[in-house]
């Protein structure tokens, strides 16, 4: 009886298979030595227009499916937004006076804040290809003055920081990634509780390492503290949803929600250092 040739007894096929495995191993080693950077940058540049087109197609899909949103849901959302508008109008009127005072004080102290000239708009051209790590690729790189560690925002809210820069593209580490860490302050409490914001696999942000003796309440606004990173102070991160305070715990923590639609980003703004 003729026996079927096994994987290790077919030299032609085996040579190709081992060759491919060897190639994979070589690529990993070359990347760890930094030799692949030009190749990776070239692939990123070539794929940029195509991924941009597919992202736009994704936006079209979104718009199509949003047509089927129930009217009752839209009505409820409309009422909620009207209430928010009323509250914001009230806030604007009280903030105008505070803004004038703040600007006068800043001039005296020489302190800075983000101004529109510091923001570089960048199109999102790619997403992290899995569900658990959170990165995006943007169509601006070192040729446009982008550097590692710069903050990235949208609608005044923190999106993440630049993690890796190529000549034409850069990769942004999103604030919702479980490994992301940024120092933060609860700006609505008089004692200004400080802690660390990080993402978690699945959903949401955690405001952690807050001292037990500090007060933190739902709907408080959490902003960056500017400590220990290149992220400027005062960028909005999100709002406190629930507080987890345990009697015997060293720290308390809170769930924070952000308004940034991370899977639907099209344009983001890099805070370019002056």
């Amino acid at each position: 009886m003729k026996r079927r040739a096994g994987l290790l007894t077919r030299p032609g096929v085996n040579r190709r298979l081992f060759g491919l495995l060897g190639l994979g191993l070589l690529l990993i080693i070359a990347n760890s030595l930094g030799w692949l950077a030009p190749v990776r940058n070239a692939i990123g540049a070539i794929g940029k227009p195509i991924t941009t087109a597919t992202i736009r197609a994704g936006g079209g899909f979104d718009n199509f499916f949003s047509l089927f949103t129930p009217i009752s849901k839209l009505t409820a959302e409309n009422q909620k937004l009207k209430a928010q508008v009323a509250a914001l109008q009230q806030k604007i009127s009280s903030d105008t006076e505070l803004k004038a005072q703040n600007e006068a004080l800043r001039r005296q102290l020489g302190a800075g804040t983000i101004n529109p000239q510091q923001l570089a708009a960048a199109e999102v051209v790619g997403y992290q290809p899995d569900n658990f790590r959170q990165f995006i690729t943007i169509a601006k790189g070192s040729n446009d003055g982008i550097q590692v560690g710069m903050a990235v925002v949208t609608s005044g809210t923190l999106v993440g920081t630049v993690q890796e820069v190529g000549p034409q593209t850069a990769k942004v580490f999103l604030v919702i990634d479980p490994s992301f860490r940024v120092a933060a302050i609860d700006q609505d409490q008089p004692d200004r509780p400080t802690g660390t914001i990080h993402g978690q696999i699945g959903s949401g942000l955690i405001f952690d390492k807050i001292a037990q003796n500090q007060t933190i309440k739902p709907s408080d606004t959490v902003i960056t503290s500017g400590l220990g990173s290149g992220i400027p102070k005062g960028i909005i991160i999100g709002k406190v949803q629930t507080v987890d305070k345990r009697e015997n715990g060293v720290f308390q923590s809170a769930q924070v929600s952000t308004d940034v639609p991370f899977s639907k980003l099209e344009i983001v703004y890099v805070v370019v250092r002056p």
Binding site: R16, T51, D62, P129, D130
Partner: protein, 164 residues
């Protein structure tokens, strides 16, 4: 199918995965198109094509990713070798049930590998995300298999010639 066609398929899948499915996520999750491609090539293509797709597709996805370079290339290569070995052992791997089982197992293992590399907390709904991804991947595999069956008229059997 010529080699150029296969390369274009892999490129297309990578661009759709990091572009379209990054933005529009069915059931809130991104499907694993490359896993489906590797398993499909494994069932119907040659061993070289399967491993070639795994290495090339994995490299492109690793390139699109910022962390863990090599992880996807390694995972898809192991998946490719697994399906090659299954065919080598004479198992009937081209049935619908086998494909769905392979996709389910591959998706769960891939997600667990990715989660194991993350240094951070895991929310309860991470597991529901894995379940959603299994449903989406299996649905796509089902469409792929039914489409192939309706086009060819019948399911193919593994042939010795396919190993060249």
């Amino acid at each position: 199918m010529k080699a150029v066609g296969k390369v274009l398929i892999i490129l297309g899948l990578v661009w759709v995965q990091v572009g379209l499915f990054g933005h529009w996520r069915p059931l809130g999750v991104m499907p694993n198109l490359m896993l489906l491609a590797v398993l499909f090539f494994g069932l119907y293509g040659s061993a070289t094509t399967t491993l070639g797709a795994a290495v090339f597709g994995g490299f492109l996805l690793d390139n699109a990713s910022t962390v863990d370079f090599g992880l996807r290339m390694a995972f898809y290569s192991v998946a490719a070798l697994g399906i090659i070995a299954s065919r080598q052992l004479g198992l009937r791997v081209d049935s619908l049930i086998t494909m769905l089982l392979a996709v389910t197992l591959g998706t769960i293992l891939f997600d667990l590998v990715i989660i194991s590399t993350v240094n951070g907390t895991i929310a309860g709904n991470a597991y529901s995300m894995i379940l959603s991804e299994v449903i989406v991947n299996d649905s796509l595999a089902l469409i792929l298999m039914l489409g192939r069956t309706s086009m060819s008229g019948q399911q193919s059997k593994p042939t010795k010639a396919a190993w060249a």
